[in-house]
Symmetry: C2
Subunit: 80 residues, 2 copies
């Protein structure tokens, strides 16, 4: 089973990388782009018998390694 | 309208960051995690009258700035 983990900075946490992208987009003529935030996307294969088990594993990985719970929030999506 | 842009390395392109995450996961006891790939996730607000227009803008941003078409592929998702 494949898990796709989306990690972004929590709202309110300053995102300098997103800001840099926004400035670059404006410079290229995309003046309408706003509120740009950059996050991480991690895809991995899991060996799990069912969705609940896979979700539990992925959640544990996020807590232990992938996300920083102080500044980041994550969302797990399972792909068949 | 909000666009969510998922950018990953194309299949076959070596992903050392993903490999490092995989090794770390194995070290933490998640031996079943495999084929880990890390990508980027960019969220932004667009001013567009309809979905087709928003998609066109986002696509152009990817081509001009956000993704490297030689090594990366992207997927655009529009969120209402």
């Amino acid at each position: 089973m494949k898990a796709r983990i989306h990690i972004h900075l929590k709202n309110g946490v300053l995102d300098p990388q997103g800001k840099a992208i926004e400035t670059a987009l404006h410079g290229l003529g995309f003046e309408d782009a706003g509120n740009v935030r950059q996050g991480k996307l991690i895809e991995l294969d899991l060996k799990a018998s069912d969705e609940a088990e896979a979700m539990k594993q992925a959640e544990e990985m996020c807590k232990k390694l992938l996300a920083n719970p102080v500044m980041e929030q994550y969302r797990i999506e399972l792909v068949a």
